[in-house]
Amino acid sequence: MIKLTGLTKRYGAKTAVDGLTVEITPGRVTGFLGPNGAGKSTTMRLILGLDRPTAGRALVNGKQYAEHRYPMHEIGGLLDATAVHPRRSARNHLLAMAATHRIPADRVDEVLNAVGLTDVAGRLAGTFSLGMSQRLGIAGALLGDPHVLMLDEPVNGLDPDGVRWIRTFLREFADQGRTVFVSSHLMSEMEQTADRLVVIGRGKLISDTEMGALLTGSSVRVRGPELARLAAALAGQELHWKSETELIVSGLSAEQVGDIAYQAGVRLHELRPVETSLEQAYMELTAESVEYTEPTR
């Protein structure tokens, strides 16, 4: 469980994170979305105590990160998988991390195996591909067998195999009742991985919703042979004709449209809520908070 309360970080005049209040709960995958420069990485750095918040608090399992005696048993964080000494072997990198928590070398070999790096454990980390580095980073995050896993852009630069591996991995981790907090700018990836979405823009919380609620827009697709009569009954609503037999109704739920059709005695062949794609929903949510805009020509 991660709890942010009024979390704020300013760098000089620039406010990177602005009064963020949100709870990341166990048992599911929470996606963390936002345009570039929205403050996702800064938020994660604050959670791990790497940066000091200007105001507010970030608590991991009830305590600030640095207050934990054995923080790696609480939360496994991965901010930048390539931030490894390039001249140190993967195994030695993990051994040095493990030693700080008196985690035995057996556990190092175990996590190396879990992420599929056993065969290259002796290779220098600098020779790793981005995908291998991500796996090494996740191995490090898993060392302490933590209850919370927090990953910044873990699918960045991965091949389709690696992406699927991470997706399955996060799902299994959350299904064990643990907390997963994962940022990404790949909306399609989030759509398949996350149960819940926290969206920020310019450091502020834009939306904190279940994935389903975000994807279900407030419009309804109706098909039927007598739509003209339905349209009359829906007078005053925003209607959008797709064809003579297909109509999009905005501002009403499927239940409401169904009831109105029933009262008007209109036969329907199809009635269903229109799901917006996450990408579309995300664009609408963040349209006003993108840091950089396309250059005008």
Binding site: R45, L48, G49, L50, D51, R52, Y65, A66, H68, R69, P71, M72, G77, L79, D80, T82, A83, V84, H85, P86, R87, R88, S89, N92, H93, L95, A96, M97, A99, T100, H101, R102, G140
Partner: protein, 256 residues
């Protein structure tokens, strides 16, 4: 204490698991061998020309004079133990493992001090071992002095390793650290001392005597000039403490 011990183990793994550490050890030993051999043979030649009596100098004096060269290699691993973490950004992993920043720096300091001491002592022994054949009959042992000087070289190397770690933590940059060390360990005392003498400013001459290289010389050689070995050791400890405190202040107050 237990927590600190775990950091020592972790930092020792980091120190020994990169090749640059062992390049530095090899380089320092090589520098010691070459410096002691050259100095020893030329001293022996001079003494032969002057018909000096046998045993005019000590074997350990060769090791001592070579410290001037090896002191720029010995602290490199200590510096890299922190600056390479900033260069590769792996400092984020270190702070995730050890969020208590004072403990992290104390862990690193303990390891570089021990490593510097061990390497310095080894270099002293190597210097004496090379000195015996190089000086031949013109050298001699004063048993207590030899051991004392060799250990003093180790102590000096441990101290300047801590200085390097502190400066590296403060600057976060290898280039800046090397430049500053060069300035503090070699240039400053000579430059300020020379300037002070030329201008007749005695106070500047006094100040120039308190740089780490001069302070180290007093307790390595056991000389009473310009002050006692104890003052020398205290002065050097002051440098190490000041550098580590500056590094700690930066580590604690600045974002990683």
């Amino acid at each position: 204490m237990n927590a600190l011990r775990r950091v020592w183990i972790s930092e020792w793994i980091k120190l020994r698991s990169v090749r640059s550490t062992w390049w530095a050890v090899g380089g320092a030993v090589l520098a010691m061998v070459v410096a002691a051999a050259l100095n020893g043979t030329s001293t022996a030649t001079e003494m032969a020309a002057e018909a000096a009596p046998p045993g005019s100098t000590t074997y350990v004096s060769l090791a001592i004079s070579a410290v001037n060269f090896v002191q720029f290699i010995v602290p490199v691993p200590a510096m890299l133990l922190i600056t390479s973490e900033y260069a590769s950004r792996s400092i984020t992993f270190s702070l995730q493992c050890v969020p208590a920043r004072t403990r992290l720096l104390l862990g690193k300091a303990g390891i570089v001090a021990a490593f510097g001491f061990a390497l310095g002592t080894l270099l002293g022994v190597v210097g004496v071992a090379v000195g015996v054949p190089a000086l031949g009959e013109y050298g001699h042992f004063v048993a207590g002095d030899t051991v004392r000087s060799v250990l003093a070289i180790g102590l000096y190397c441990g101290m300047i390793s801590m200085v390097a770690l502190g400066v590296g933590t403060f600057t976060r940059s290898s280039a800046a650290t090397v430049s500053l060390l060069f300035l503090v360990l070699l240039v400053a005392s000579t430059l300020l001392g020379g300037l002070g003498e030329a201008m007749g400013w005695d106070w500047l001459v006094t100040i120039s005597a308190y740089f780490p290289n001069i302070a180290g010389e007093t307790f390595i050689t056991g000389s009473d000039q310009p002050y006692s070995p104890v003052i020398g050791l205290l002065t050097l400890s002051g440098w190490a403490a000041a550098a580590l405190l500056a590094g700690l202040a930066a580590l604690k107050t600045r974002d990683a």
